[in-house]
Symmetry: C2
Subunit: 520 residues, 2 copies
């Protein structure tokens, strides 16, 4: 058995049975091995950013890693942006990067480059280069264990071509098993309980795994019983929400809004979240969003057993699921008339199917989506964890592969879509049930806002020209059709409701382009 | 004056007056400064790989650097593949990567990552992080000098947001001027002359700057007068060729072909080229392409004054321009009938305009292009220097910006086009006169070939499925239209000739999709 076959068998044995790939010559033995080990599903992407973003979306929903297969340094480079998002989401990903044969590297052939350097950006915790075929299986099992964490991470395995094609020994035992998360010190639980009982204004700032069940209900119980404000990360990896669930307010992207949300708090208790900071720095404004005089307490960080800590806290406080306040069912009225960012969001709220997975990269046009869908039937909401745009469509691909029986909605803005548009082809190729709502406002609207917010003086038409997406206007119906996906364009709210309703009822991928004015 | 304005003024003063950009919030002051310093032309790309590839194409044609402007680590990641190609082409590029404000980095905000690590992959010779506004101009001038070389390189300048927005001192003097290339030792010239006069079979293996005038004619004179075989790199950055010029044979991509070309040589004299090696390793095959018993002599490497060394050699040998054998004018007959890789190439040869710049990423379908265009009117041929696909369309963008009065042809294959398709939007947005011939064979054909060549055993349908681009079939006419570029589809040679003729006669961008069977 050659290395590639042994590697794939080892991955499959550990539950890693999907590989999102964009291979090249140095990965051909891995590709060939797909016929020998049919338990591994290969999913082709036409650009590496689609493969890495899909692995992120898959990992968030499946709660186990997918593999990627990328071609040398340039292929890894193309995958960096969405691996960055996966790193920030603590998504488990086994990131396999092919390399030249070990003995070929000395020749500095055209595609030679420092793969390890690039990998260290997205995989600071685990970069392994397998030097000998006999190490491959053990290295792969280490990579799977490292990817699973806790916390979950992108584990990069660099795979030389000759290691793939040479005869390999099978190692059945992992050198390193997935470690359990370290239990949280009792003192931290007691401190959190003390703060929550103090009668002073307390915020629970939460994220990671605790914005999903069973932790979510526990958070709701703690908040309701103690009067604490419940806030979560601006961009949670996967937020369970909707009617009947505990509603969690996301911290605003704009520091000005976040300041209002955090105003007056004497204590902030962190649960599987880092202390809130401004997305970017702005001249004369603080980066740290914690209000003056507010004390930060960490109940559990991303590497800790946050769900366990929360259970201990609930026990200590003596609160139970019945204490939690639940989101009542409510949908916006079906919108009519003008198509705007608001009416698009209303249409989404009115039509969102039960059990939907929403990959949200709506950006400025999506501002009203959280409110419009708060009382829709239960669903999952996946966010732009690392701020590297071009995530929404690939994450939808991965979510749909992980959850073939659930409807997936990519709520996507025009500028962001353009980075990884090739996702549509993979949706069509794999027959994935993804409905894309493409918000076309002809602009990098968020940057028009940021241009003013950073205090850039006297910007004029030459600057504004760098922030607009027309002329020429992008035609997303044509682009979707070009990728093999049926599409339609809505210019009124009534058209959108009609088209979105039909798209959601249609199996396989569909794109609905919503032409909206910019809210900026 | 803030840092961004000072930086742009410094760049413009050194002749860097085009910036290909895909900015984000941390680069907004640079963008705003475009209105204060209108001598800098900003060209927006909707994906960073377009910006970096365009900078490569620009640098190859303008022979001076363009700047890029990229957003943090993920933006740089998206630009890595084409910066890799630029590195391999020795193209001068001033690669500006925005970063968080210096004081913001400690907060590990969502977009924080190790930019320096990624930059070291593409800029091993120059990565500078400016820490203080007063250092910015000097750092920028150092970056320009480093980019120019020799040899030309990608010089990365990491620009924190607060360095951009703070008041900066103008430094008029560069800390480091562009250094002249080190002159080649006389002994090397004498050694080359001795070998060339030895009567033994000699190959001149050339690349870099010497496959352009005035060196090209000198190479032709040396080869003709001494009987040496004239061969160049498989993927030269910019090859001047066509009727009346000295013809240079490119080394084959396939080691099997290269072996035939190099067979029987007793000496190989390198001029601005590295010793030939196999693109990839293959089981049981040598990586080094130099035949056994052949001695390699370096007249000049990429960092040396190769044109100067060649002039010295010409003088020593006493040969002159009249000795050079020139390519006779000849075009293929206008093809008719079936549309194949061969008839597409014949159509290109029949219609190629004088002074055209061809950005060649035709890959397998382009196999016959070199032969079909050899005797066409003089033109430049730009190749996939680093092997990282997705180069062809962006390089065409940059070449058209550098040479607005010359027709540019992107000779592009389907799989490669998909990586940086957003190039078409920039062509339309900037009104660039680029004709794309899109070779659609529905396949990563080169990988189907490589799958067999690497000796991958028993590959089957599951492997082959990872190498095909359909179903669904990609519709490049729709994709081009979606990006705002007029397009047509040819399915016969007659249609192609007709459509290509009209496209070449039309100012601005046009796409002609040529549907061809795979040659593999």
């Amino acid at each position: 058995m050659n290395g590639a076959q042994a590697l794939i068998r080892a991955l499959v044995a550990r539950g890693v049975d999907v590989c999102f790939m964009n291979p090249g010559t140095s990965e051909m033995h891995f590709v060939a091995a797909l016929d020998q080990v049919p338990e591994m599903r290969g999913v082709l992407a036409l650009f590496e950013g689609v493969a890495t973003g899909a692995a992120d979306g898959y990992g968030r929903m499946a709660e186990r890693p997918a593999a990627t297969l990328l071609h040398l340094g340039p292929g890894l480079g193309n995958g960096v942006a969405n691996l960055h998002n996966a790193r920030r989401a603590h998504t488990p990903v086994v990131n396999i990067v092919g390399d030249h044969a070990t003995y070929h590297k000395v020749y500095d052939a055209q595609l030679e480059s420092d793969i390890d350097a690039v990998a260290s950006n997205v995989s600071p915790g685990f970069v392994r280069r397998t030097g000998r075929p006999d190490d491959l299986v053990a290295d792969a099992l280490d990579a799977v264990a490292a990817a699973i964490g806790p916390p979950g991470q992108v584990a990069t395995l660099i795979l030389p071509a000759d290691v793939s094609w040479s005869e390999a020994t099978i190692t059945t035992a992992a050198r390193r098993g997935a470690a359990p998360a370290p239990a949280v010190d009792e003192a931290r639980v007691e401190q959190a309980a003390k703060v929550l009982r103090s009668g002073e204004p307390v915020g629970l700032f939460v994220g990671g795994r605790v914005v999903r069940e069973p932790s979510l209900t526990q958070l709701g119980a703690v908040a309701a019983a103690t009067g604490a404000r419940l806030l979560c990360e601006t961009f949670p990896a996967r937020l369970e929400r909707g009617a009947g669930r505990v509603p969690v307010e996301r911290l605003g992207y704009l520091a000005e809004f976040a300041a209002v949300q955090l105003d007056g708090l004497a204590h902030l208790v962190l649960v599987d979240a880092a202390s809130p900071v401004s997305f970017f720095a702005y001249p004369g404004k603080a980066s740290d969003l914690v209000p003056e005089g507010c004390t930060v307490h960490t109940l559990a960080g991303p590497g800790d057993d946050a769900p366990g800590a929360l259970t201990a806290l609930v026990d200590l406080l003596g609160v139970g699921p019945d204490d939690a306040v639940r989101q009542p069912a409510a949908r916006p009225e079906t919108p009519s008339g003008e198509l705007t960012a608001q009416t698009v969001c209303a249409a989404l709220g009115a039509l969102l199917p039960e059990g939907a997975i929403v990959s949200d990269e709506g950006n400025t046009s999506g501002l009203f989506a959280a409110g419009a869908t708060a009382g829709a039937p239960p669903h999952d909401w996946l966010c732009l964890t690392g701020g590297a745009i071009g995530q929404g469509l690939p994450v939808a691909v991965g979510a749909a592969v992980a959850c073939p029986d659930r409807p997936v909605i990519a709520f996507e803005s025009d500028g962001s879509a353009l980075y990884t548009l090739q996702s549509w082809w993979t949706m069509a190729s794999e027959g994935l049930d993804v409905t894309t709502i493409l918000l076309n406002n002809g602009s990098y609207a968020v940057l028009n806002m940021e241009l003013d917010r950073v205090g850039a003086e006297a910007s004029g038409p030459r600057a504004r020209r760098m922030l607009r997406l027309e002329p020429p206007a992008l035609d997303f119906v044509a682009l979707a059709n070009g990728m093999g996906v049926p599409a339609s364009r809505a210019t009124t709210a009534d058209e959108l409701v009609d088209q979105l309703g039909r798209a959601l009822a249609t199996p396989g991928p569909t794109v609905v382009e919503a032409v909206v004015p910019s809210i900026i």
